[in-house]
C-alpha cells in the first residue's frame, strides 16, 4: 500500500502549518498599543508632545528598563523574581560608599560601580542557588533575598546618608548626549546586550528553552541547574546596575532605591508580551512594555489626572493591554493560571 501512502503524504505536507521563523503577528499587539496610547496623550496635552517631554519620558524609563532587562530572562524561564528592591537598595548604598562620598574617603570611581554591580550579581546568584539546591520556588527565594538585600543595605547605611561627590557617577544623570542623559544610553546599551544574550548566547537560548520544556533539556543531557543560577545571577547584575543608576540620579545612596520596582518591572514585561508561564516574549517585548508603562505615568500627569487616580488608571490599562493580547488566542478548554 505504498501508492496511496505517497499520495497521502502530499496531502499531509500540503496541510502542514507554514513554519514560523521570525516574529509572529500576535507579538504586534504591544507596539500598536504603545503608538495608540502615545497618540491619545499627544492629542490631549500639548505639554506631552513637546520634544523635551519625549526626552523626559525616555530618561524616566531608563532605570525601569534596566530592571526589566534582568527580570525578563527570569520570566522567560517561567520563574519569577521579586528581589529587585533588595538588590537595588544594597548596590545603591554600596556604590555610594565606594565612589567619592561624604562618609569615607573611598574613591574607586568606575571600579566602585563594577563592585556594586558584582554585589547585585552575588545576591542574585544566592537566590538562584537557593532555588536549585533547596528546591524552593523562586517566588520565595527572591522574596527572601530581597529582605536580605535590604538588611545588608541598612547595615552599610548605618544612619548617615552617603552622598556621592564623584563627578563621573553624578555626571551620568546630568550630562546629556544627543539630548538624552547618559543613563538613558546605558539603558539602551542594556537592551542591546540583553537582546544579544537572548539571541546569540547559549545562556539566553537555554533560558528560553527552560521556559519551554525544562525536562527535555535534562533528557538531552543538559544540566539545567547551572543555567538557572546563571540567569538569576545575570538578573541580579542588572538590578545592581539599576541601583547604581538610581544613586547617580539622587546623588546619594538610599536603602529604598528599588522600592516598587519589582512589580512594576513584572507588569512592564507582561504588558510587553513576556508571559509568566515562560518560554515566550523577550527583551524587545519587555522594552516596549516599559515604554508603554512610562508613557502612561508621564502622560497621566501631563493631562492632569489626579495623582490618586493615576495608579488605578495604570492598573486598568495593564489589564486591558494583556486582555487585548490574549483574547484573540482564546480557546475553549484553555488553561489560564
Amino acid at each position: 500500500m505504498t501508492s496511496p501512502a505517497d499520495a497521502d503524504l502530499e496531502v499531509v505536507h500540503a496541510r502542514r502549518p507554514r513554519p514560523r521563523r521570525g516574529v509572529s503577528l500576535r507579538d504586534a499587539g504591544p507596539p500598536v498599543a504603545l503608538v495608540v496610547v502615545f497618540g491619545i496623550f499627544a492629542a490631549l496635552s500639548p505639554g506631552f508632545r513637546t520634544l523635551s517631554n519625549v526626552q523626559n519620558v525616555l530618561d524616566a524609563a531608563a532605570v525601569l528598563t534596566v530592571v526589566t532587562c534582568g527580570i525578563t530572562f527570569v520570566l522567560m524561564m517561567g520563574s519569577i523574581d521579586l528581589s529587585a528592591p533588595g538588590i537595588m537598595g544594597a548596590s545603591a548604598i554600596a556604590v555610594a560608599l565606594l565612589v567619592a562620598n561624604n562618609r569615607n574617603d573611598n574613591d574607586y570611581g568606575l571600579l566602585g560601580v563594577v563592585l556594586a554591580v558584582l554585589l547585585g550579581a552575588g545576591l542574585g546568584c544566592l537566590s538562584g542557588l537557593a532555588l536549585v539546591t533547596l528546591k524552593v520556588p523562586s517566588f520565595m527565594t527572591t522574596l527572601g533575598i530581597s529582605a536580605v538585600g535590604l538588611g545588608v543595605a541598612t547595615l552599610m547605611f548605618a544612619g548617615v546618608q552617603p552622598n556621592v561627590s564623584d563627578r563621573m557617577l553624578a555626571g551620568l544623570a546630568v550630562e546629556r548626549f544627543l539630548g538624552l542623559a547618559h543613563l538613558t544610553w546605558i539603558a539602551f546599551a542594556c537592551v542591546l546586550v540583553g537582546w544579544l544574550v537572548q539571541r546569540y548566547s547559549r545562556l539566553g537560548r537555554y533560558a528560553f528553552a527552560i521556559g519551554g520544556a525544562e525536562e527535555v533539556l535534562a533528557l538531552s543531557g543538559v544540566r539545567v541547574a547551572p543555567y538557572k543560577v546563571a540567569v538569576f545571577t545575570m538578573a541580579g547584575a542588572f538590578y545592581g546596575l539599576a541601583g547604581v543608576m538610581v544613586t547617580s540620579q539622587l546623588g546619594a545612596g538610599l536603602v529604598q532605591a528599588g522600592r516598587g520596582y519589582d512589580f512594576s518591572a513584572i507588569a512592564a514585561a507582561v504588558v510587553g508580551g513576556t508571559l509568566l508561564i515562560g518560554g515566550r516574549g523577550g527583551i524587545l517585548h519587555s522594552a516596549v512594555g516599559v515604554l508603554l508603562v512610562t508613557v502612561l505615568t508621564n502622560g497621566l500627569v501631563q493631562v492632569g489626572v489626579s495623582p490618586y487616580w493615576q495608579g488605578g488608571v495604570q492598573g486598568l490599562i495593564v489589564v486591558a493591554a494583556v486582555a487585548a493580547a490574549v483574547i484573540p488566542q482564546r480557546r475553549r478548554n484553555q488553561v489560564t493560571k
Binding site: D8, R15, R21, A209, A213, V216, S220, G221, G279, N333
Partner: protein, 519 residues
C-alpha cells in the same frame, strides 16, 4: 529459541562483536523486580524488535541502556567492551541514543537547536551561538534521513510527523560522538502517528539500518514484524526468547508475551445484539467549526461508529466539538430527540455524554489525585447525597468498579499516576460509567500507548458497553482497530465526512479500501 544469548567473552572476536549486548541485567524497585536478569543482543545493521506487555520491563531496560536507570546487577557490553552508563551523555558517547515515547523536543526552539541540543559542538563557541554553523550541522542530520524541514523553523510550528523526523535527526547526532555505527532506540515511535506517517517512519527505519543498529519498541505486533529483522520478547523482567520476524505470526509473539495462547483480537464475532430503535440516538447535522465543515453523523444505541482520516482531517475536533470542548460555528446535534447544548463540557456531561481524551496524562486524568477521586470527579451525584460527599458511599462504588473492570491498584487511595497505562485508562473510562447514565461515549484513541493485554481488555469493555446500548464514536489508533471495533466507519478528509463504509462482523472492509477513500 534462545540460541546465542550468552557467550563467554573469550570466544568472541571483537570484529564481529554485537553492537550492543546486555547480560543478566537486574533492577529492583521497592516492591517490584522490574528487571530480573535480562539478556539481549543487538547485532550490527539490524532492526531488533522488542516486545512485551506493560510491566514486562521494557521501559526500565531502555532507560538502563541510555543511562537513565542504574541497574543493580548485570553488564552492558558495547561492541565487545564492557561499559558503565551513568547518564544520557555517557550513553551517547558510546553511540547509544533513544527517541522517547512522548516527543522530547523543546517547542519554542528552532528545529536546528533541538537537533544539536546538549551537544552543540562547533555550533556554540565560548557560549556564543553561531547560527550558520548550527544550521549547517542540523541540515547534515536532516539530510541523513532525507527530510526537507527548514532547520530554522520553530519546532512548535512543525507537523507532528516532521517533529518526529527532527527527533530522529537529533538522536543521529550521537554519530558525531563516536566513530562506530550508533545504536538507535525507538520507544513506541508510532503510538501517535497516522498510518501514512508510520509508513514514512518505517522507510526511515529501513534507511537507518544501512549505517546503524535499531531497537524498535512497539505495542503493535504487526508493525514490529513488518519492520524488524528479529523480535526479542520480554516477560516479567526476563527475556523469554526471540524469533526472526520473517517467519513469525502476531499470535505466536502474543503467546510468548503473555505466556499463554490468546490472540490480539481486533476482529470481534457477531456484532452485539442491540434493540433496533427507529431513530438514531445521536443525530449530527451540518456541524461546522474551525477545522471541519457541515459534518453529518448518525449513531444508534449500542452501535460503535469509527471515524478514520489522515492527520488534519479534523476528526479529533469533531469529537471534541460534540463534547462542547471545541467551538462550533453552525449545525445542530440531537441526542435522543433533545437538542444538545454545545457551549461547554458541563452540559455534555449532564446529557450523558462521556469523552475519553487522547492525551491521557494531561487531559484524561489528574495524576496526583487518587483513583477514587478521579473516578468520581465527573458524576459527583454518585458519591454524594445532596451536596455532601459520603466517603463510605464513594468507597463502595469505587471498589465495585475497581473489581468490575479488574483495575490493578494497591487501593482506591493510590494516586492514579502510579498505575500502569492500561489501568489508568480503565479508571478514566469508569469515570463515565459510575453514574450508569452514560448514553454516548466519545473515544479519542482509547488504546493509545496500551499493551496488547490492556488493549484487548479495553476492547472487551467497550463491546460490553455497546451490548448495554451505549452508543460510541471511536477514533481508533490504527485502521485495523477501527475496522475491527466499528459497526460503521465514517471517513473524514479535509474536515468533511466524505464517505461511510459499513463494517458488519461478516463483511469487514480491508485497510486498503479505507485508505483509498481517505486520500
Amino acid at each position: 529459541m534462545t540460541t546465542n544469548l550468552t557467550r563467554p567473552p573469550g570466544q568472541r572476536v571483537p570484529a564481529t562483536a554485537p553492537a550492543l549486548e546486555v547480560r543478566g541485567l537486574v533492577k529492583h524497585y521497592p516492591g517490584v523486580k522490574a528487571l530480573d536478569g535480562v539478556d539481549l543482543v543487538v547485532r550490527r545493521n539490524e532492526v531488533l524488535g522488542l516486545a512485551g506487555e506493560n510491566g514486562a520491563g521494557k521501559s526500565t531496560l531502555l532507560k538502563a541502556l541510555v543511562g537513565l536507570v542504574r541497574p543493580d546487577a548485570g553488564e552492558i557490553w558495547v561492541r565487545g567492551e564492557k561499559v558503565r552508563l551513568g547518564s544520557i551523555a555517557d550513553a551517547a558517547d558510546h553511540g547509544i541514543g533513544m527517541v522517547f515515547q512522548e516527543q522530547s523536543l523543546v517547542p519554542n526552539l528552532t528545529a536546528a537547536e533541538n537537533i544539536v541540543l546538549g551537544s552543540e559542538g562547533p555550533g556554540v563557541r565560548h557560549g556564543i551561538y553561531r547560527w550558520n554553523t548550527m544550521r549547517r550541522l542540523a541540515q547534515e542530520q536532516l539530510d541523513k534521513i532525507g527530510s526537507h524541514i527548514d532547520p530554522l523553523a520553530r519546532t512548535d510550528s512543525l507537523s507532528f510527523a516532521d517533529r518526529q523526523m527532527v527527533e530522529i535527526a537529533k538522536v543521529l547526532r550521537i554519530e558525531e560522538r563516536t566513530s562506530h555505527p550508533p545504536v538507535i532506540i525507538l520507544d513506541e515511535p508510532t503510538s501517535v502517528l497516522e498510518s501514512k506517517e508510520i509508513e514514512t517512519l518505517f522507510t526511515q527505519v529501513r534507511r537507518l539500518r544501512e549505517f546503524a543498529s535499531v531497537v524498535f519498541v512497539s505495542h503493535r505486533l504487526d508493525e514490529v514484524l513488518d519492520v524488524c529483522d528479529r523480535v526479542a520478547v520480554l516477560r516479567g523482567g526476563r527475556s523469554v526468547g526471540e524469533v526472526p520476524a520473517a517467519d513469525a505470526a502476531p499470535a505466536e509473539l502474543h503467546r510468548m508475551m503473555i505466556g499463554s495462547t490468546g490472540s490480539d483480537d481486533h476482529y470481534h464475532g457477531a456484532a452485539a445484539e442491540r434493540p433496533d430503535e427507529p431513530r438514531p440516538r445521536l443525530v449530527v447535522r451540518g456541524l461546522s467549526g474551525r477545522t471541519f465543515r457541515d459534518v453529518d453523523l448518525d449513531v444508534h444505541a449500542g452501535e460503535i461508529v469509527g471515524i478514520v482520516g489522515v492527520h488534519g482531517s479534523g476528526r479529533e475536533d469533531v469529537c471534541r466539538a460534540l463534547f462542547g470542548a471545541e467551538p462550533t460555528t453552525a449545525g445542530e446535534v440531537v441526542l435522543d430527540g433533545a437538542r444538545l447544548d454545545l457551549s461547554g463540557t458541563r452540559a455534555a456531561c449532564a446529557a450523558g455524554i462521556g469523552y475519553v481524551p487522547a492525551e491521557r496524562k494531561t487531559e484524561g486524568m489528574v495524576g496526583p489525585m487518587s483513583v477514587a477521586d478521579n473516578m468520581t470527579l465527573t458524576k459527583q451525584g454518585s458519591r454524594c447525597t445532596g451536596p455532601v460527599v459520603r466517603p463510605r458511599k464513594q468507597a463502595k462504588l469505587v471498589d465495585r468498579w475497581i473489581e468490575r473492570l479488574s483495575i490493578r491498584t494497591p487501593d482506591r487511595g493510590t494516586a492514579i499516576q502510579r498505575l500502569s497505562g492500561g489501568n489508568q485508562q480503565k479508571v478514566v473510562l469508569a469515570r463515565w460509567l459510575v453514574a450508569g447514565d452514560v448514553r454516548l461515549l466519545l473515544l479519542d484513541h482509547p488504546t493509545r500507548g496500551l499493551d496488547v493485554g490492556a488493549r484487548s481488555e479495553v476492547y472487551r469493555l467497550l463491546r460490553e458497553l455497546a451490548g448495554q446500548g451505549v452508543a460510541m464514536v471511536l477514533l481508533a489508533d490504527s485502521l485495523e482497530e477501527a475496522i475491527g471495533m466499528s459497526d460503521r466507519i465514517v471517513v473524514m478528509s479535509d474536515g468533511r465526512a466524505t464517505t461511510e463504509v459499513a463494517a458488519p462482523a461478516d463483511g469487514k472492509p480491508t485497510p486498503l479500501d479505507l485508505v483509498k477513500e481517505m486520500v
